[in-house]
Subunit: 316 residues, 2 copies
């Protein structure tokens, strides 16, 4: 499409780090991340500035489970701290793989993962109705008791098994945005806002405090993109294109859509809340905030998608 | 001593984050870290640029224990990844506390925790003789079997209980040094090299790979100080001053020592290898590498120690 240098926020889907059916060993993650790094470096080779964000669902899930399993020996950490741990884990693994791939390509190897907090509004309606399941599955009895003890909202998510639900509030501001901008300006590939960022609320006196919640990583990626002034926002996922009437005989994969079409399709209920919905919403917000172009595409198609030859491109 | 702006690397001891006897709950850590942040902001108020590094012993110990406790459900992560998780945890908690304390003092609130790798030499002799105990205590039988299965070196550290030993190689280079410098130049308080940094070796082709080892956090702090060109290196710990013949009736607390005295005392065996030894060695290396002044002091005395009114000041 264009050969000019663009600042791109790239949101990696879960399968960029862990494939369905894998258990989540370090070796599996390293292998997947090495392939992901190749795809990212394709974009960097074209001269673009890239900021990487990523999900943390399976990783923070495992950390929560480990916290629970060890709880009779060491104090379990709250969800915000576990999220921070997952940022350390993935920031390290993705950062190392990117540095290695950049070096293998003879490119400058400046990469940094920044521990990122994301401000959410204390009054966000999400706090009144937690919807996002996190952590281990418990048998109903045990889970109900535990939930009562800890003040957790529990829900039967499989017959006989309950899980904790936490709120999923809207991201308002990336706390470390200025520091991320400084690094980008210096030519660093930044990894930030992993898992949507560690959710914090800002008290009236300006004090930040962590909250037990989960922020959608694509919506946080949009905040990050807006906060750093990115012109392109790429959401990589496990499907080739955004598809209308997905899973029906009438399904229509879309090569392009306009902002107003995206709004209409979202309103018409084409995109499920837990999957494509937030991605399309993130894209809409990105364009509304002045972004030039957004793409939703499969991981493997990252470079072609940027050129408009794969995935779904959305423009005003 | 001086009112000019200095670039200071501040290495926090374990008790800056967790006090002896505490279990390590998030609430305990937050409380300690809030007090630590007050002490750090005292230095920032004086106009100095501060880079913070910290230990991670109790935190990575707990993460290893949680990994072990959950190992029948989710794959345990190797030590380098667990170290990265501890950097996320503490980078978040220390970063948030510093931001809050800066704001409370009406100061600019630019803080960032950078996930940090530290290069060690593949040929470091430490790899031939692991000395650093990490992770859970096991009964001899179980630990010996586990060690054999995983290729771990185990040692009986208490009667009837064994623990894994890992190498403690020398830090060679902070991988993210340029990015940390960029942030410092932009006025950001950087938290880096937590737990000595994630140990990585550099293969002949330049590829970085994590290794299961632990780098001394004060020696890594010195590398960081040299790599970012800090003029002052402050090591905060749980004793008031460096002391000769420590614990004997003849003990002599030192207000100052010269580089050559420090070398002599270290050679004469005044400082135990596991505690004051590496701190004094780190100070020696710092001054040898061109640093102006190093201080070893108690946490509570940070600001007074910088002024030469507490702790032990070491100069060439």
């Amino acid at each position: 499409m264009t050969s000019e240098t663009e600042t791109i926020v790239l949101a990696l889907g879960g399968n960029a780090i862990l494939q369905p059916g894998q258990k989540g060993t370090a070796a599996e993650q390293r292998q997947n991340i090495a392939e992901t790094a190749e795809a990212i470096v394709e974009l960097i080779k074209m001269g673009h500035r890239v900021i990487v964000t990523h999900g943390n669902g399976p990783q923070v899930g495992n950390i929560l489970l480990q916290n629970e399993a060890g709880a009779d020996q060491v104090p379990a950490m709250p969800l915000d701290v576990c999220g921070a741990e997952s940022q350390g884990q993935l920031g390290y693994m993705v950062g190392q793989a990117l540095r290695n791939e950049l070096r293998a390509n003879g490119l400058p190897t400046s990469v940094a993962a920044v521990v990122t907090q994301t401000v959410v509004a204390a009054g966000d309606p999400a706090f009144a109705s937690p919807t996002k399941p996190v952590g281990p599955f418990y048998p109903v009895d045990r889970g109900t008791t535990l939930g009562a003890e800890r003040g957790w909202v529990m829900k039967e998510v499989r017959p006989g098994q309950v899980r904790r639900l936490v709120p999923s509030p809207d991201p308002v501001r990336i706390v470390e945005r200025d520091e991320i901008r400084t690094l980008i300006a210096g030519g660093t590939i930044v990894i930030a806002s992993g898992g949507g960022g560690i959710p914090v609320v800002e008290h009236p006196d300006g004090t930040l405090r962590g909250v037990e919640a989960v922020i959608d990583k694509d919506l946080a990626g949009q905040r990050l993109a807006a906060d750093v002034g990115a012109s392109v926002f790429i959401i990589l996922t496990d499907i080739d294109r955004v598809t209308l009437a997905y899973g029906t005989p009438e399904q229509v994969p879309l090569e392009r859509m306009t902002l107003s079409e995206a709004r209409d399709y979202l309103e018409q209920g084409h995109f499920p809340p837990g999957s494509m919905g937030p991605k399309v919403l993130a894209v809409i917000r990105f364009l509304e905030a002045g972004g030039k172009r957004a793409v939703i595409a499969a991981m493997k198609d990252a470079a072609r998608a940027l050129a408009g030859n794969a995935g779904t491109t959305v423009t005003t």
